[in-house]
Point group: C2
Chain length 255, copies 2
């Protein structure tokens, strides 16, 4: 089983879209895939027509089990999405209260890594969607991953925030004694504007081999897929965005 | 002095863009304007070429002063932006640690409201940029405001998250015994797609008079302004986005 975390503390860069698109493609290719929603806002959970406010069991329960010293078993909280080979561990708004509890719980940063070990035989890939804020939830998502995918918009300010995040990534890599292997993914790229081209050049200079060699283009049909609640690969299989995400996934699988 | 908070726990909906655009227009019209960056990621601070990682004094200091029972005085921490009538209270990543301290500090939700009272004669308008996460920082920004502006993307999932946020808004309005007056602002609207039109209709049905009667259109030139580090009204004064934000501001000032 491989755990891929999708994270960036900048909001609206395509984290949830990346998880649901790559998750859908992996499942369509026959891989047993678990998507995990670690964002208290629950965009991934809502995508599959579940209401985060009504979710009784979520990733939050894994933290409760850990503090009650119960043996972790995420299977208790995984739900069906209605799509073959694609399951979901949903989010609940109560996840947002974990930061406040962080002061009292030792070793809270490794709860998710420990829990997912219990399902290593059940899934081929786990994709973790993180919230746009550096806190206990993002730290857990980073500490648990085999690979980190960082979606960015090709805009002037994108690199500023990236630098800070990569310092946190380094720190977590050192504390778990295994560096975090990351890849930066330009999303919603609009090739018509000079600004995007210039910002992409800047990212290429600063990130070098950590930046994927291509981009995910702007594609308004992704919103149609989200309105339909269907993974893009099944709803708009011939779209530019699905083609680009498929190419990105091929790259990840063969690296 | 009026305090306007711009907030939505959904990421990337145009919160920072709304603060910097409206702030720039207010200043251009001669109003003494303070923008306050309450997002630990510091997009607003970075917009004005300040590095959040190097900021020594930020909104965080107001919380320190409050817990040390020092008389609040935001003037100590306000910096110049280089633009007339436009000042900034910058952000620092250390703001992200406040949630963890929330367990220990009583009455932490009213620190910003209390601090801003100390500058009531200095500014005509204060605009607060919030982080995309429901926590101590957002609660403070909501509790301090005279009016709340909620930018949303016209997309299917936009309303789901809005409902939850509006429940929090109600709760804070009740606990401060003064309801929060809010207005929902559709941003990055792309009139060419059917999806946007349908989602806008949905927002109109659900939000009714709380939704502004017009929209802020998609305008890639806003990114040029951000690259230049200049408020849009000064960099792209004749753009569609600046015209729409000006109309929105006229509406707010004359309501
Ligand atoms: N390639 C693309 N082309 C066009 N629109 C896109 C693309 N990718 C994502 N979007 C749209 O951009 C918006 C933001 O995407 P998304 O919600 O996935 O970002 P996020 O990083 O998960 O946001 P948050 O920080 O709130 O978690 C959504 O409306 C989504 O449909
Ligand atoms: N009307 C618009 N047209 C085109 N692009 C826009 C518009 N408004 C904002 N943007 C762009 O969309 C991106 C997100 O905007 P912004 O950073 O203001 O959102 P935010 O809600 O503050 O995000 P966060 O949740 O990270 O704080 C930025 O690249 C910005 O330049
Ligand atoms: Mg998301
Ligand atoms: Mg912002």
């Amino acid at each position: 089983m491989k755990i891929w975390t999708v994270s960036n503390q900048k909001g609206g860069v395509g984290k949830t879209t990346t998880v649901v698109t790559i998750g859908g493609i992996l499942a369509a290719w026959g891989f047993r895939t678990l998507m995990m929603d670690m964002d208290p806002h629950g965009s991934l959970t809502s995508y599959f027509r579940l209401n985060p406010d009504e979710i009784k069991a979520s990733a939050y329960n894994l933290f409760q089990d850990a503090s009650a010293k119960k043996a972790p078993d995420p299977r208790r909280y995984v739900v069906e999405t209605g799509f073959e080979c694609l399951q979901l561990l949903p989010a609940s708004p109560v996840l947002a209260t974990l930061d406040r509890q962080a002061g009292t719980m030792e070793g809270m940063g490794l709860v998710i890594a420990g829990s997912l070990a219990a399902v290593a035989d059940e899934f081929d890939y786990v994709l973790i969607d993180s919230p746009p804020m550096l806190g206990v939830l993002m730290v857990n998502a980073l500490a648990a991953c085999d690979r980190l995918i960082v979606p960015v918009l090709a805009e002037y300010l994108a690199f500023k925030g990236l630098e800070r995040m990569l310092r946190t990534v380094d720190m977590i890599g050192r504390s778990r004694r295994k560096p975090i292997d990351y890849l930066v993914l330009p999303t919603m790229f609009d090739k018509r504007t000079k600004e995007s081209q210039e910002s992409l050049h800047m990212l290429q200079e600063r990130c070098a081999e950590k930046l994927w060699h291509s981009v995910i283009p702007v594609d308004t049909r992704l919103r149609d897929a989200s309105r339909a609640g269907v993974p893009p690969v099944l709803f708009i299989p011939t779209s530019k965005a699905v083609a680009a995400y498929s190419e990105f996934l091929e790259f990840l699988l063969h690296e």
